[in-house]
Amino acid sequence: MSIAADTNEKFAQYAHGENLVSTDWVAQNLNTDGVVILESDEDVLLYETGHVPGAVKIDWHTELNDRVTRDYLDGEGFASLMKAKGISRDSTVVIYGDKSNWWAAYALWVFKLFGHEDVRLMDGGRAKWIEEGRETTTEKPAVEATDYPVAERRDAAIRAFLPEVKANIGVTPLIDVRSPDEYTGRRTHMEGYPEEGALRGGHIPTARSVPWAKAANEDGTFKGFDELKALYIDELGLAGANDIIAYCRIGERSSHTWFVLKYLLGIDSVRNYDGSWTEWGNAVAAPIVKGEEPGEWK
């Protein structure tokens, strides 16, 4: 990493705390050469209401997804997007967003599919920056076009597809990060959210329930290392686990958990199953367990 990491004491406890920066760090690095700050939100207009000075907007739905196939950009698409955002291959990219950084973590995960090395999240996201009364602006920064190489998208290490998940039931620990009602099958979507058309409710057999929000404090920051370790490693008995698959509804909440497991707890191989419940709950003959118990694979 060419730009020095945030030396915040909290981050030093994490396995790879260099992937987090504080709002203080961002405030001090607004004009640092080589740093590009991105805002990634669920609400498509929030950036326009005011954002961190110099931050560039990135939209998960309209920019990181392929517009036709349910998939992400290809290498060429990602390279053109990076050029348009003023990002070089060696840029330090700092992402923040609404909803405790769900969509920021999701964007970070997509950057990692293309092997962008230095991507960090701003702990606490947009809400913390605003809560602290820091400067915002509606002025869009002038972006200088950059050069960005076409990097092949490499899904294998951090992305799981349905057949792999199916083949790994009972072998690889699965974590379901949705709300308890979605896990048990009482509802097929998040409370207060639109019905996205999953035909069946429940969870993937053997998946353990750890709602994503357990990893976050009230103010949207990540919990400290010890609390996270107790939650995932001790309670789930994952000590020594080196391959985990996390899923939710479309992969955005599980990107948050993926970030926690991989970078904050340092588990080597963690994959996000982005097809998640909107795929599994509609797939023919995909096994489902209802109720509070993880269930077994027969």
């Binding site: 669920e42 609400d43 498509v44 207009l45 929030l46 326009e48 209401t49 739905h61 309209t62 609404d98 207060g192 959210y193 639109p194 019905e195 996205e196």
Partner: protein, 145 residues
């Protein structure tokens, strides 16, 4: 509601406004709508339980309709941190508030898809607007039944 019907005149004007601005300015226009959503009058501000939630929206929004002498009045409540939802509510307010029962009930359910926003706003986010319209129409039907 039929998908082939024309939009009521005021909504059509708004749709034309969106169609006429360049792609890059449409979000700005939606933001301006979100900023012009009227505050709730006191009788509702003090009694939020009188408003109906719209779960199809990704952000919390509540609405209530009043029908008097065949004219529909609309009231919305949505937080400032949900500008997209406020913007869609505001479009419905500007397009339908003060219109006749007949006009409100004949508004096509795909109004959100006619705002030239499908490249800027995902279909899921646009669904929320249809959810609001469906609830407005149901409340109006109940009030006039």
């Amino acid at each position: 509601m039929s998908q082939n019907q024309d939009l009521p005149a005021k909504l059509q004007d708004i749709a034309n406004e969106f169609a006429e601005v360049p792609d890059s300015d449409r979000l700005q226009l939606l933001l301006e709508f979100s900023q012009s959503l009227p505050e709730l009058p006191e009788r509702y501000a003090e009694h939020p339980e009188l408003l109906e939630p719209v779960p199809e929206c990704q952000s919390p929004i509540f609405l209530v309709t009043e029908v008097e002498d065949g004219i529909v009045n609309l009231f919305f409540s949505a937080p400032q941190e949900a500008p997209t939802t406020r913007g869609f509510a505001s479009i419905l307010h500007e397009g339908l508030n003060g219109e006749s029962v007949e006009t409100v009930l004949s508004t096509p359910s795909d109004v959100a898809m006619r705002l030239s926003m499908t490249d800027q706003v995902s279909p899921l986010r646009l669904n929320g607007m249809s959810g609001m319209l469906a609830r407005i129409q149901r409340q109006v039907k109940e009030a006039t039944a």
